[in-house]
């Protein structure tokens, strides 16, 4: 029965396979859509709350549709002339910290992953210590340090403590170790220096993880609460997270509408940031194909 398939048959098979593929894709998309819908409900709810008047929220909180609709919460948030300033502050602090952290930590991670030096493993464990002690236990000593340096209420106070992140080093070391050694050896044979290998091979090949880390750090800095709360009380250097909290904080009530409007105001740029950069996570150079 098994005859050599004719060209026509081959074409039909391929068409069939493509059909199957399309059907599979459709099924996947449908499943993902359902899952994503459920995932989104709480987020949709925050968005809806941000467009509802507070009294209607009091009467019926668990309403998914913003009826009656109002933009007054956003009016309230944007009525503050200081918001652009706080926004800029957050942007400066989060971008600078993210950039510096990526540079400093990736260089160290490359060294830990690929360069041989004495006590490398010991030093690496020493760095991991920084992961094991919660920030709540160390922020008083760090605060006293900045106070002694007379640097409270300044950008350095908000940026510098987060640059040397053991978390980032740990993450990057794991990924750098996965980059094929052959690539590096080939480059070294061509006369590339260590710094050249780091800059021209490791950084480009690690785009996905560097992007993930950048998103994480940027976001973490943007949403940071305890440290900027004590380190930057001056509205001139205040971050938007703290500024908006002060604006919407009343001592006794939750103020859902304004809080959610503030959360969306502060959060929307990050969603955009993520949407733009997530592509790099997947379309980062396909390093491994062709090697091995």
């Amino acid at each position: 029965m098994e005859s050599v398939p004719s060209i026509n048959q081959l074409g039909a098979q391929q068409a069939e396979r493509e059909k199957q593929q399309t059907r599979r894709n459709l099924a996947i998309t449908a499943a993902m859509s359902l899952f994503a819908f459920i995932w989104l409900i709480p987020i949709a709810w925050t968005l809806s709350l941000s467009f509802r008047p507070e009294d209607s929220i009091t009467a019926n909180l668990t309403l998914l549709l913003p009826v009656p609709f109002t933009a007054e919460n956003y009016d309230f948030v944007f009525s503050s002339s200081r918001i652009p300033r706080w926004f800029l502050n957050s942007l400066i602090v989060a971008s600078l910290r993210t950039f510096l952290q990526l540079m400093v930590c990736s260089l160290a991670a490359y060294s830990f992953a690929r360069v041989r030096f004495p006590f490398r493993q010991t030093v690496f464990y020493f760095v991991l210590i920084g992961l094991m002690v919660p920030g709540q236990a160390t922020f008083i000593p760090v605060y006293l340090l900045f106070s002694n340096l007379k640097l409270l209420n300044s950008f350095p106070a908000l940026i510098v403590p987060g640059i040397a992140s053991p978390f980032a080093v740990f993450l990057l070391v794991q990924f750098f170790k996965g980059i094929p050694i052959e690539l590096e050896e080939a480059a070294r044979l061509d006369g590339a220096s260590r710094i050249g290998v780091y800059w021209r091979i490791f950084l480009p090949l690690s785009t996905p993880v560097l992007t993930a880390l950048a998103i994480f750090t940027f976001l973490g800095t943007w949403n940071e609460y305890l440290w900027p709360l004590v380190a930057a009380t001056d509205p001139e250097v205040m971050t938007i997270t703290i500024g908006l909290t002060n604006l919407t904080a009343t001592t006794y009530t939750a103020n859902y509408g304004e809080t959610m409007a503030a959360a969306w105001t502060a959060g929307l740029p990050i969603v955009g940031f993520f949407f733009v950069f997530q592509k790099r996570i997947i379309s980062g150079i396909q390093i491994s194909s062709g090697i091995k």
Binding site: W39, P42, T62, Y110, Q136, F170, G178
Partner: protein, 304 residues
């Protein structure tokens, strides 16, 4: 023999150069790390040997007394440790499995995949305050809660999510997975990029099924990201605090109070910074030992 030693010496000269490069590369990191991470930790240890008010008054050296109290008669410390481990046990596997599943699902070339990735990542952008406000109501007791409203509309009894000792921690863990699984998803997505497509192609030629591909290529290929996520998830779970603070405040009746919340209470509400620092140091020793074991376990059989 002499030749080998000579070769050894030559090598060691290259090694010295190499070592110099290595040290120079980690130096910027190390300097900042020592100043802003390590010295504060040392200072914390020093404080833990004292009675030390949070405002810096009433400082008195007490040696290991804080540790003695901690281990001999502090019931709350032990119950907080228990709650913390329970949380880690619930949230840790949940975050890893869901993160991996999402990454596999979203690592496809399907139209609109970027939107899906953004959606699943989105909860991550919310601050803990917002998550607290929202989920306190999603899982509110009685019929005012979101989930309970759905339950009662299909004829089921409402559940006392955060108000029941047995339910509270699992509910917190569910919230935690929803909120932060996006980051694990990103790490796994990035990890999947490092696996060569040619490995899959070769295996497909050999007739490997989907499960076999996953088992023999994907999982081993994700070994390093997996190590990172597992070690980090344990550390993060043991340090859980702000989320529980906004969801239950450690309640009902202290049954979800985690270690860091206890540390925070003692340090900042009770002013006992010395005692709080002792808790932090015990936590550190615990986490460090476990992490080293994990790292050792994973790096067995690895060449270097």
């Amino acid at each position: 023999m002499a030749a080998i030693r000579k070769a050894g010496f030559r090598l060691s000269k290259i090694e010295r150069q190499e070592a110099l490069v290595g040290v120079v590369f980690i130096l910027p990191f190390l300097i900042l790390y020592v100043i802003f991470n390590f010295l504060p930790i040392l200072q914390g240890f020093w404080i833990s040997l004292h009675n030390w008010d949070v405002i810096g008054t009433n400082v008195r050296f007490v040696g290991l007394r804080n540790y003695e109290i901690l281990f001999s008669k502090d019931k709350l410390f032990w119950s907080s440790l228990e709650h913390t481990l329970f949380f880690a046990l619930l949230a840790g596997p949940g975050l890893i499995v869901t993160g991996l599943a999402l990454a596999l699902m979203l690592n496809q070339r399907v139209r609109g995949i970027g939107i899906f990735r953004t959606i699943f990542y989105m909860p991550n952008i919310l601050s803990v305050t917002v998550v607290g406000l929202v989920f306190a109501r999603v899982f509110a007791p009685g019929e005012r809660g979101f989930v309970n409203a759905v339950l009662s509309s299909i004829g089921l009894e409402p559940i006392a999510w955060f108000l029941d000792e047995a339910n509270a921690m699992p509910t917190i863990a569910i919230t935690k997975v929803w909120w932060s699984v996006g980051f694990n998803m990103l790490i796994f997505l990035a990890g999947l990029q490092e696996i060569s497509q040619s490995l899959y192609d070769a295996a497909k030629v050999d007739g490997g099924g989907r499960w076999s591909l996953f088992r023999h290529i994907t999982l081993p290929g994700l070994r390093r990201p997996m190590l990172f996520v597992i070690v980090l998830q344990l550390i993060a779970s043991v340090q859980v605090f702000p989320l529980i603070d906004v969801l239950t405040g450690g309640g009902p009746a202290g049954s979800t109070r985690p270690l860091v919340m206890y540390l925070f209470e003692r340090s900042f509400d009770y002013w006992q910074l010395g005692y709080g620092s002792a808790i932090a140091f015990v936590m550190f020793v615990f986490l460090f030992s476990i992490s080293i074991i994990q790292l050792w376990f994973f790096s067995r059989g690895e060449g270097n």
